[in-house]
Assembly symmetry: C2
Homo-oligomer: 293 residues x 2
């Protein structure tokens, strides 16, 4: 697979389908970006038979320090379920990789591997740290144009700061994503140590209005009365719970604003892939049901 818009880098046959990584030249980021796609066997077959056919897809946003292939490496159980459901999965990277900004590799919770799925407004970050536009606009346009992803059949899921990404992107684009879920998401970025540290840099200390645009609790208030469905799983042995994730604030925001947030507390589970693996099938089933309605 190749075009002037993207280049295939790696391909692995898995569950009779393929996980592939690609690079694209990104305008939003001002450089090369990687992304991954899992193609279920039924999608491969149907595409061969009818090249115009469109397919449903689930976006998955990784957390801090992660990259586009990590789910493929650590959660093949999710790809197995995607294969069974005939559900494409799309994996963006988590940040620019070659911006070359001073300080962007100083700490694992900000910068490279930690782009927070926002469009920065403050220099030196504003030129490159525009993961929101990358994910919701240019990469979305690309997969719709080149990989037959159905514009009307896309949902979004994420983990940790990627969970923040999925909660925010869904709530800012209710007409463009069918459903939303998250594993151990940072739910209230403007009050989380991770979010505060990042948003100070990306938006400036005083621009609280911009901070709020990327806060899942604030967006629940913006969407007051819309009765949004969102699925969240959270382990109670998660080392970042509750301080960085503030799950109870999101629960309260849902109750106060007339939403239907299902927040499942999972006894004994941690923050990582053992937790994600245990509940990934239920999230894929959740999205597939919504996408098939």
């Amino acid at each position: 697979m190749e075009s002037s818009d993207y280049k295939e880098e790696e391909s692995f046959k898995m569950f009779e389908g393929y996980f592939k990584t690609f690079t694209m030249q990104s305008e939003a980021i001002g450089g090369k970006m990687k992304f991954g796609i899992y193609f279920p066997p039924s999608v491969v077959k149907d595409h061969e038979e009818d090249p115009s056919k469109k397919f449903k897809a689930l976006w998955y946003l990784h957390g801090l320090t992660c990259f586009e292939s990590l789910f493929f490496q650590k959660c093949p159980l999710g790809l197995k379920k995607a294969a069974d459901l005939g559900l494409m999965m799309i994996f963006p990277d988590t940040s620019p990789r070659d911006a070359g900004i001073e300080g962007e590799t100083d700490h694992w919770s900000f910068g490279v591997g930690a782009g927070y799925y926002v469009d920065a407004t403050q220099e030196p970050w504003a030129k490159n740290y525009n993961m929101y536009s990358h994910v919701t606009k240019e990469l979305r346009d690309l997969v719709e144009k080149h990989f037959n992803v159905d514009p009307a059949k896309q949902s979004i899921c994420g983990h940790s700061v990627g969970g923040h990404g999925s909660l925010v992107i869904f709530q800012k684009n209710l007409d463009r994503y069918v459903s939303c879920s998250a594993f151990a998401p940072m739910t209230n970025s403007i009050n989380s140590g991770w979010g505060k540290n990042a948003f100070e840099k990306l938006f400036g200390e005083d621009n609280l209005d911009q901070w709020k645009e990327y806060d899942a609790c604030e967006l629940a208030a913006v969407n007051k009365g819309k009765n949004l469905d969102i699925l969240v799983d959270q382990g109670d042995k998660d080392c970042f719970y509750p301080d960085y994730l503030l799950t109870e604030n999101f629960k309260k925001a849902g109750e106060e604003n007339g939403h239907n947030f299902s927040i499942n507390m999972r006894e004994g589970y941690d923050h990582g892939f053992p937790f994600i693996n245990t509940f990934i099938e239920s999230h894929l089933e959740y999205h597939d049901k919504k996408l098939s309605q």
Copy 2:
């Protein structure tokens, strides 16, 4: 979990059961060794209700460069199946880690991370490189004594050089393992570049009789007429196939010696975890059926 024989290091809740890593003081290796165990939820529950109950278990031997936790990290789908089947899984490490022998870290295909599941006879390796005794005797004794593994209900599986380990250990201990399978195994170590390089060091250049004791094809001849069942999966896009694995030699050894070796060639699959993940459920079902007879 702790006793004078072992120490629990890490514990992860997964699929309502637990993957745990442990360390033990190893006589065979002359130092500390790590190992991992997955405890399915039914095993945890049954053990609480009846501390004397014994459980079926599948041993999994990793390949070159791997370690006791890699399957847990890269193949949680296998642990999900083990959870569903109520089948414990036991993961030895792949070599001594602290022997301090000159040259043991020079190349990824020999030494640390690459112990070949043999008992070495040649110095300087013979003092520490005794993974065969470690796996088949002392670690087996330990899990039977402390983790209620049933002496009569154990099977063995492995990948690559770990597949060599499973084919060899099974064929040398037909009364102690119920069934055997392998993913992309090195099947004819005395004719493989990996095996020849390792066995020259571990046994000496001229001791071909000792080399043959750890060669799956030679052991198929030793067991002539016993009609052994062994399950093998092999990808045809495996970068080590056929030269290092010599799968056809094993097929021929099975045919010539009256065995029932099922060797499935898998079109388009590579040597790694995407391949293992795709077929791991069928291997666990194979063993569980044999263990439940």
